[in-house]
Symmetry: D2
Subunit: 351 residues, 4 copies
């Protein structure tokens, strides 16, 4: 931490700050400047409560320097985290991009299988679908619950894709852990610390979506909550943030991808469906997400978007998705990444 003194602070005031700092068990480093003095503090582990020094006489400002996250940081682990799924070539965080696709919500066995067949054939290694839906309105469709999870488990058997689905509270988390391969924590729960801790006690990888107005540091701290309970397999997911801009539902912040990769070893994927909220923006932003260096994509696909019970407006048609994957293959190649080849045929998939 750094204490910046006012221009007209007296020597006595500077001394008082230094004594206070030392009394708290830290070291004070006064640095007299041309117009004012600044005092560095070392020895603190980030836990010094703000407010201790702010209102002492002569203080202009207190600036925090150390970052509060540890386990997510490259300071602790330099090499990238790669999450593997035994028995499959799928990874999240390696050279191959993770392609995750499926409907917003599991609506029926028929709908889910129809979508799954198409996205598997197009080259997705992961199937997404909501069984528990956090909806803005209590009067909207809230998901099929465990029945939806069972459908997804069948899809894994049938198509070989790994399953990602959201848990919204401790009850659903237990079931999601049981049925799915990756547990999703949604944007609205990014700071539901009780849920994060519980997710940290599971044995499955967790995909954590960025909150609607989360800074990079808050995003990291939410991941730190999960990791601090012993679960190190965390995937971050950018899904758009809230701004004044109204041409998309959220503003997709692709710059967080290189920012995460610089500071953390965790993989980061991008959700262009929620990130834009409009079907006609999903394809261009998916391309951009791969070009910026994301470790994967999570895309909503629906066989009949205009009959979807939720988010139909932002779901791709299966043929749009298939075409998109083809484009992503070229872009990935242009920047030294790759996609796992799609299975030869639907039959192969089915086998």
């Amino acid at each position: 931490m750094l204490v910046v003194m006012q221009a007209h602070a007296t020597e006595e005031q500077v001394r008082a700050i230094c004594q206070k700092i030392e009394s708290l068990g830290y070291r004070a480093h006064p640095m007299p400047g041309a117009t004012r003095t600044a005092i560095g503090i070392t020895g603190n582990q980030g836990e010094v409560e703000q407010g201790t020094l702010d209102d002492m006489p002569g203080v202009q400002e207190v600036i925090r320097v150390s970052k509060p996250y540890k386990l997510v940081s490259r300071d602790v682990k330099e090499e990238n985290t790669v999450i593997r799924f035994p028995g499959t070539p799928a990874t999240i965080g390696g050279r191959n991009l993770a392609i995750i696709a499926g409907p917003c919500a599991i609506e029926s066995r028929e709908q889910a299988f129809a979508v799954a067949e198409r996205v598997a054939r197009a080259g997705a290694q992961f199937f997404r679908g909501g069984a528990y839906k956090p909806r803005t309105s209590p009067y909207s469709f809230q998901g099929m619950g465990e029945a939806g999870l069972q459908i997804m488990a069948e899809i894994r058997e049938r198509f070989g894709m790994k399953i990602i689905t959201e848990a919204i509270d401790n009850e659903s988390l237990e079931l999601v852990e049981k049925y799915a391969d990756v547990i999703q924590i949604g944007a609205r729960n990014m700071q539901n610390f009780s849920l994060l801790k519980q997710a940290g006690r599971t044995k499955k990888p967790v995909m954590l979506k960025r909150g609607m107005s989360a800074t990079l540091e808050e995003f990291f701290m939410a991941a730190e909550y999960i990791m601090s309970e012993g679960n190190y397999n965390v995937v971050l997911c950018e899904r758009g943030v809230r701004t004044f801009a109204d041409h998309t539902r959220n503003t997709l912040d692709l710059s967080i991808v290189p920012a995460v990769q610089r500071l953390s070893h965790l993989p980061i994927v991008v959700d262009p469906s929620h990130g834009t909220g409009k079907r006609n923006k999903v394809t261009p932003l998916s391309r951009a997400a791969v070009a910026v260096g994301a470790d994967g994509l999570i895309v909503e696909v629906h066989n009949q978007p205009d009959k979807a019970l939720s988010d139909g407006m932002q779901s791709l048609y299966p043929e749009q998705f298939a075409q998109l994957v083809g484009e992503l293959r070229s872009i990935a190649g242009a920047i030294g990444r790759s996609l796992i080849p799609a299975p030869r045929s639907a039959a192969t998939v089915a086998g």
Copy 2:
């Protein structure tokens, strides 16, 4: 809903939209204009899924008109909701302002009683204090839990103040319901729908804080979740939103107070402590909150802010709080509101 057609949309495309609307069971009202046609839709109850019409040929834009909230709305209940606490003059939502004060967190019996004694004497009718703290860092103090709730229950006995404290998950909610008079749902949980529903099944009033980037409609919908389960005693709380501005921790949005009061019958209070994050801003913004018409204030007060385990930086000293209450009394009077007189003396309080 209203469908705006493109300038060059054909009559056939307009007809197709109308047929689609009718096929969904609604009425279509085409309105040919100078440059384009718009089509009104009536008969819908707000549940029509967006995306059904957006991508049909010739459509420029689909605009939602009906508001999705019902129980929070003055359309359903015109007169103000006033929450009463039998056996005390305290109310939330009436002519008298609700004055809520206390430390950010309950740290010890001694600290809590010291603060309680001071805020009761200054005129607070409600005591706030966190037993379960949602902290950004997993390494920060997380609250005393049930022990903290027991201390607050003692404070109610001793000083006659009603208790407001936060629940962060279903487990803590059960305990908070048991010990407290008002259940607080924090900003980070404003869209933790599972928790909202559970709160809606309790018998205690709920104070719902606005999420960090919640629109008015989302704020209302969160309250609707609670009310839709049968609990109509909901208090809204503005506590600052996230913006680019960096001179305060959050940007306190006082304009939401008249906006809420125009559309909803629910009371709304303001939290200038979290709303600014800086002690020297709490007093001016508290005065402004009363002047704008808020139904109450929730203010952090600590007897030793520089030793506080959380949020010391934004806590008032007890004497600052006492002075503030005096000022608020005058301002309330200037706009036709009032404060319940403070008890005659600490002795009276203690009695």
Copy 3:
């Protein structure tokens, strides 16, 4: 400035940074910490270009400490700036609040006089009205130009109010300086540095509106541009900032009032009309602005808002304004400020 080194930075890298700093003519203050080293820099006057140190090996982050504004700061001038208008009791920045009112735009002599008569009688000391209107659309009414300025000069003669009006470029600035008492620089021009410098060369006070997404520091720097040319009579004006919130046109950020007053000697007034964009929010937010400690208010009033050529939606009716001024008088009294008494009668004004 402060350079924070990476956790694994070598001593050699620290040394290289220090040498670089010294080579630029400053002093380096290395502070080894528990997990990393930070290096303080003194002797710089804020002009060190960022980027010099950021990419040197081992550097984690460079933090700026000194504030770049000087003339606006209380470091340079401790006592409040009070702008006086010889021959009148009106001031901006003193104990009395400056009450500024009038239509958004001067539309005709008749309209302007009708509004002026009402606001003068209600107690306004300053008359506002636009002769040059910065409109979002090139097809909207752009103002009467010099003819509008002449009408306002007549109003000054007739009603004794001082005139505030906006200049939008160097041409209009010359005319505004000639006719008006206070030159307004609008939010959209807050960083039109060419115009700011020109305004700094005039002899009239300048009211500078905060840009739609200006931080406090940028706001101060814009004022610094004016002051650096020799014009020290600058009034700041908060008029709402752009956020995601959609219940008002802008989000009025009242917390900037105490923030400005803490760091700067310049007066600050509030514009609740543009700050909310809705008539029914103007009165409550005006009350709040006075309660928070603003040095004045600038309010749009129109005799026939539904026929206004611009911003009719946010203009008060004259009788609403008169009632508002009465309320403000009480609130000002409650916090130790006051309003100049309104003239005895319209006749007196007219005299």
Copy 4:
């Protein structure tokens, strides 16, 4: 426009609104719904002043439907605008991407030529460099003025690149028009309507940067100002918007690229240098900008970034830029776009 009535509005109130609408010369289309009535308005050209209907009894809300921009819209011109530069293969808006590069500011003939030589060789067709710099601080380097323009004119002669540079007021605009090939209007002047109109009267193409908090509609309206004066060669430029996010200086909003392309025929380029403010983010975001479909890029390159007089922190080294262009070539190919081949050799360029 659409007037939404309150749920309990009377038939009489509905009738009054309709009469008011007709009295203004428009047609009213009342649509009785299940819970409330909405009234469509046609015949208006977008000039109806808001506020006329908002406060009439029974009105809940007035919603604007028609878009106020015309000349920028695909409604007026369906095919893409392609800006050509006779005598060169360079275009903005065609299949080939426009690659624009150079230093933030022209600092000296030597510096400018050194950078120009490198970026020309790497494949830039346009050279950027500031002669008039809008700086936040009046104490920062403000640009070389006309001397800088002359250096750029020499660079055009020497390297065959077209020149883009910023005008900040009417005076500089005249000179920029004289020396440059494309006139840049900066983000801070996006709503300097006086300057926009003047730019609309020049004969040179104008590159208009998006304001820091401009919506898509405001961005279009600013372009409309230029076009309404007769200059149809407008290039839009996304350069990041202001949000709460603090890991980059601005938040680059790539989703505006497909949004612009859907509604307007104007070309749009992306500025990843200002859009991120950090050198290590420029390359990934440049790749993303091409992948999302931008019509070009404007990138800051400096031969000695750590000695740059402005924005050194975000400038690429020449070799980084050359490598970036190679990557862009592959990405462009993957989505059906292309880059003009770089000149064979520096000698060729020099010839």
